[in-house]
Symmetry: C2
């Protein structure tokens, strides 16, 4: 395809083209749209934040970068391959000469017209790369300083092909006057977590940066979890946001956009309250590891689950205002993607988003208080019944799309597999976790001593939860099953779906083999059954997956003797 100063007519005949950058294993879909001028294309990118228009590209520029036209099937979208040849050619320019002081680099921060980053002691001008960056604008968070602390979080970057892309943009090195032992000093590197909020020390911390901490046993006794003890699952730092002026963008499948400030959302749409449990896909992962072998991920015990009353506006109302009519859905409107300010993103099926009983909220408050920063201030999504990973915090964009969110949290991390798929799980074929399966847990068990010091009764409590709706009869016992008492039956308004856990309580006699026999170990086992009569698997072995997701086997606890 020779360079050409006018966009070829067959290009103009179609509206949209898809570009697959061949040098990356996770393809990013660029697209080009016609403009009013025949020699200009508008370049956009399907990032995790959905399609974004970035810049106008002269056809000649595109052609000179060796864009290879690979097909012109009538009526279909057009595939480009940008060959790496391009970049190798561009790399030859004088990149080894210039040096920059750190003070100068810092001026090229995220607000600059020409953002720069440092890797090692090299300096890169990423201005031209930002639009093509698969992760979107988040790359600007690193601008003005070192990119390495961010790559410690976004570890997907630590590979040769990514290093190679970055090398294209090298403009020089850090001045030796600013190096210590040949390195950029620690203090000169921005800590992205420096503005994270203070947390309650009662939370059981798994990782500090990003903050991941579970609800302590004492708070699992309550139906509503206090905000400060609600479990925290952060993938990154906590964004520092401007509150009511914060804007979210809603983009339709046809690329049209509508922006709303938080203030506007609060004022223009009716407020709704939904009480729902949120649960991490990894809750109880530790018990799967203990029972069935090593799993990758935070080793949550039973506290990666909490319940709150959320207040906000219904997503379905806002989407309708933005132009998405549930009655007349475009064929392509299959998924609703949510993007967070820090970088996180996930999606839910359109059906859940606009289900009149789906109760998906854009929430501003939690248990009557302003949304805490750790839980998404100023606005987050709350998707009842669905894995909490889809309840995106610090919401910045909503994109209606034919596809699921392209992020790793949708495409990889929150999936489960056949127990035999340990080494090479079928990432693409496996479904992303959405509605949560039925589970239950024992949070407390005791055998109080009687007047003679004997143990006569077992007293236990815990919770049961299912994403599919109200659930009932968790039953516990050993060889025989007993029905536990369910608390929280009045928690839901009549007619509305039950999105919450139900705490249970069991009191019964100590089994004969337990009392009087100091060696006799008795185990209390709990399993729950949900509204569709689904019940929990008996063992973790039968649902083992190397990610340790959905560790929903019968829970067990040793009865003290």
């Amino acid at each position: 395809m020779p360079p050409n100063h006018t966009v070829p007519s067959q290009f103009l005949a179609r509206f949209e083209y898809i570009c697959r950058l061949t040098t990356r294993t996770r393809p990013t879909r660029c697209f080009y749209q016609r403009t009013a001028q025949p020699n200009l294309l508008r370049r956009g990118l399907h990032s995790q934040a959905g399609p974004k228009h970035k810049s106008n590209v002269h056809w000649a520029t595109l052609a000179s970068r060796s864009a290879v036209l690979v097909g012109l099937a009538a009526g279909s979208l057009q595939l480009f391959h940008e060959t790496p040849v391009d970049r190798n050619q561009q790399k030859t320019v004088d990149t080894k000469v210039k040096t920059f002081r750190l003070a100068e680099v810092r001026q090229h921060d995220g607000s600059s017209q020409n953002p720069w980053v440092i890797r090692g002691t090299s300096v890169y001008d990423i201005t031209d790369w930002v639009a093509a960056h698969p992760g979107g604008d988040v790359i600007l968070t690193a601008a003005g300083g070192s990119i390495e602390p961010f790559w410690d979080i976004f570890t997907i970057h630590k590979r040769p092909d990514v290093y190679e892309i970055l090398e294209e943009y090298k403009i020089g090195t850090v001045d030796e006057a600013d190096l210590e032992d040949g390195r950029v000093p620690q203090g000169a590197i921005v800590d992205p977590f420096q503005n994270d909020p203070a947390r309650d020390p009662q939370l059981i911390t798994h990782t500090a940066c990003p903050r991941n901490a579970e609800t302590p046993q004492s708070a699992l006794k309550d139906f509503i979890t206090p905000n400060e003890l609600f479990y925290v699952r952060n993938h990154f730092w906590v964004p520092d946001v401007k509150g009511e002026d914060h804007e979210i963008t809603i983009e339709m499948v046809d690329g049209t956009e509508r922006k709303y400030t938080v203030k506007e959302l609060k004022e223009r749409f009716p407020q709704h309250k939904i009480t729902t449990t949120l649960q991490c896909a990894g809750n109880r992962r530790r018990s799967m590891t203990d029972a069935a072998g090593a799993t990758k991920g935070l080793q949550w015990k039973v506290g990666a689950i909490s319940t709150a009353e959320w207040e906000g506006v219904r997503l379905v109302d806002v989407l309708a205002d933005a132009g998405l009519s549930p009655k007349d859905l475009p064929e392509d409107a299959q998924h609703v993607q949510f993007s967070a300010m820090e970088a996180y993103g996930a999606s839910i099926p359109i059906r859940k988003a606009i289900d009149p009983w789906g109760d998906v909220l854009l929430a501003f408050s939690m248990n009557g208080a302003e949304l805490p920063r750790d839980h998404g201030y100023p606005v987050r999504v709350v998707v009842p019944g669905t894995v909490a990973a889809r309840s995106v915090k610090w919401l910045s964009q909503i994109t209606i799309s034919p596809d699921e969110s392209p992020t790793q949290w949708q495409q990889r991390d929150y999936k489960s597999f056949c127990p035999s798929d340990v080494k090479n799980p079928p990432w693409e074929r496996a479904r992303s976790i959405q509605e949560m399966p039925v589970t239950s847990a024992i949070t407390h068990v005791e055998t109080p001593r009687g007047p003679e010091g004997e143990r006569q009764t077992i007293s236990a409590e815990g919770y049961a939860y299912s994403g599919g709706g109200a659930r009932d009869h968790p039953v516990d016992g050993g060889q025989t099953w007993h029905e536990a008492e369910l608390l929280d039956n009045q928690a839901q308004a009549k007619g509305s779906r039950a999105w919450c856990w139900k705490r249970w309580r069991y009191q019964g006699p100590t089994p004969a083999e337990c009392s009087g026999s100091p060696e006799g170990k008795t185990r209390l086992v709990v399993k729950a059954t949900d509204e569709a009569y689904n019940t929990q698997p008996q063992t973790h072995e039968s649902i083992f997956n190397a990610r340790g997701n959905l560790a929903t086997a019968w829970d067990q606890a040793e009865v003290p003797t």
Copy 2:
């Protein structure tokens, strides 16, 4: 409460009263409404067909029957108790004198103003009872002949309190000239099944009257089950219906009614096609019985499940036309009750009925052919994803109600319980089965012999099904799990929910302990995981219930050696 010729003012102050007939353990709710005349009440009955107005009752008549006013709590509904004293008093009239020829009894059939029935050799005029009959008008089917063949089906009648009620209406005995050996001869008794259709002999019959038969293994291999091999689950005889003139009544919570003929339904509403699997709650009951002990009910193997393409009109469209707006649902509109012509009835939650993706149909055709009589001709309900017991055949009435259907099939038969609740299950507390839990079954397994007569490979097939939506990876194996190949991935239109089973196929090497060892028995085990990652329970023991419902444990088959 003394007899009174004017309805007491406190009665007129309320609109509706509830009457509980104290002599019956299954309460029937009669209600009384005011009329324009101060001394008349309008009597109605909440039957399985919903509230029906039956007759005007003079207050004095009601009072003279010793209706006992038991409370007048302000604002609440009013409870009456009709004491059995009444009936004992009425029983004294001359009932032993008159004799009737069978020819005369036959004239008092269901179309007569004064329907009679025979029990033993006694004759009863049930004219006054029909309105109060808890089962509704179906009692008229027996009129003009013996009621006993019907009580053999509706066995709930075989108890002293029911006999006692019938005795109130005795008017005489059958003339001895018509008796043989002191009994009414067999030929004189109507066989309600005499008009049942002919069936394909390949169906595996469990009971002939009513007809209950499962799909043979040969037909379980196909995605679509041929109409003549679709499993049949009838609770009664097959009604003989007049086709397009057949009328269904839709009753709103406020008692208003709208009637539609089948012809009108077909002409006035858009036609839709839905392919869905229907499954009996008792499918695989036999395996629960074998594994965990005796269960009550038809001992289905794996064939009480079939799949068809149904065509009809959407329930939600028809309800909207009848006045039920999904946007403005009355608070009391909680359930949609369906009544069949023969007597059967069941209900679904309103949410399922009007869910835009619920796909509930009033179906007229099955796999492109007119609905066969065994499957509900001329119109049946099809409730995808829900236990087939709610897909009521031979539909006659739809009732919007605050309550579930009062029939035994909603209140008792289709429920499951804690394994320990064998003797006295908590009928009222247990939920009626609606959405189906995930299940799977092995329908065929073989180990074909190689050239040396050795068995080298296992070849197996079966199905997986879940009511909650698309399902994936049934995995099978022994100590290790292997993922089976799922067929039928293209079966659903894009965007629509997956209401169908997925057939699976597995081919793998024969395990070492199987080949070469004539004694070594190897079992193939299958379990499926659904869209919400719910999976099947490992054993039937853990989900055992005396009804044998939802026998969804891992399926097993011995591998031939």
